[in-house]
């Protein structure tokens, strides 16, 4: 039920953002988020953008995994 999907913000107007989910464009509410910008990746849950996805953090997590080494 808490399933959320990533989407890219295309345009913003009042309390609504037009976002692209894998090329499919839908309007979502931005009532739960401030400071959204065009080009941001957001998580969409039941018609609302609930959080911005931080691309730098996404890369950092992968880098941590790549460099992980446990000796036996």
């Amino acid at each position: 039920m808490c399933l959320s999907i990533p989407a890219e913000v295309i345009t913003l107007k009042d309390d609504t953002a037009l976002v692209s989910v894998n090329g499919l464009e839908v309007n979502v509410s931005t009532l739960l988020l401030d400071n959204l910008k065009t080009g941001d990746y957001v998580l969409i849950h039941s018609g609302f953008a609930i959080e911005i996805i931080d691309s730098e953090e996404a890369e950092k997590t992968l880098s941590v995994i790549r460099h992980m080494r446990i000796s036996k």
């Binding site: 039920m1 039941s46 959080e51 997590t61 992968l62």
Partner: protein
Amino acid sequence: MGRFDAYHSKVLCDHLCEQIHRLAKRPLRLMEVCGGHTMAIRKHGIPSLLPDIISLLSGPGCPVCVTSPSFIDQAIYLAGQSNMIICTYGDLLRVKGSNGSLEMARTEGKNVRVIFSALEALEMARREPEKMIIFLGIGFETTAPATAAVIIQAKKHAIRNFFVLSAHKLMAPAMEAIVSNDIPINGYICPGHVSAITGTSIYKKIVEDFRIGCVVSGFEPLDLLQTIFMLVRQAETDRPALDIQYSRVVKPWGNQKAIALMEEAFETVDDWWRGLGILNASGLKPKASYHEFDAAEVFQIPANNISDPEGCICGEILKGLQLPVDCRLFGKSCTPENPEGACMVSSEGSCQTYYHYEHRR
């Protein structure tokens, strides 16, 4: 997906699995409390990649599964009143109350409409002012802010024919109840999207008072494997901690705007959970200042207490004490096509995910 494909990388998954196998020395029971995690773990076959000594359990993280059957009865009662329209997320449609489901009520001609967003219910109220629109608010902190935002909008725009029947619940009280009941758990895979809203402070008590590690996890295979690695490392070094694996989405302080909206519109109430009973301050209902939008306050709804179908062990499964395959109804009289218990109804219920991804292997 696309942009985040790397989180499915087989090379990196193999690498993480190797590290987990090297690190894990003692038996561990790790519990997730999010329907999204239940599905992702089974869908990606994560248990089969882990050492046999690590068990993954599903806790009370599917809102549909823990909600009282009497909530369904109340919704069906309201759907039968003249001029009322029930708006619900699809997840709730097939859950049975004492006398059928909302889906059955709809086939009998009662006014039940499936929506994808709480805003659609508000829009319906604007469009059909002669009808009373009842939105069924269900879900944890991921979903509750949207309901709060809509209640606040309804007040702002003086929409008098919009109401919420709330079964919203808070995640942490149930997680605390599990560990207070001495159910053996060595670590929590914490829900990513609940935490995106709440931040991590809700898990502090579990880590500090109960000494159970809590790692907030994303939903891709690499996310889950890294989270399991972090929990194994905590357990092996006997240092339970509060950590965020899903840092691309979750901040320690959460989504402050969403939290503020929830605090504006809701107050906590004691609430009933399948398997756990009544937990203090574990549910949300509209505050007194928003009572005119609270269906439970405005309408006289008959109350009744009903129990689960005979033989159903959903309650024990939701506590991680038994597995779906331990239930004598599982796969026989209880299937996704004809579910008896709530955990088989929802696509993210333990029983339905087990049925799809484990039972047929």
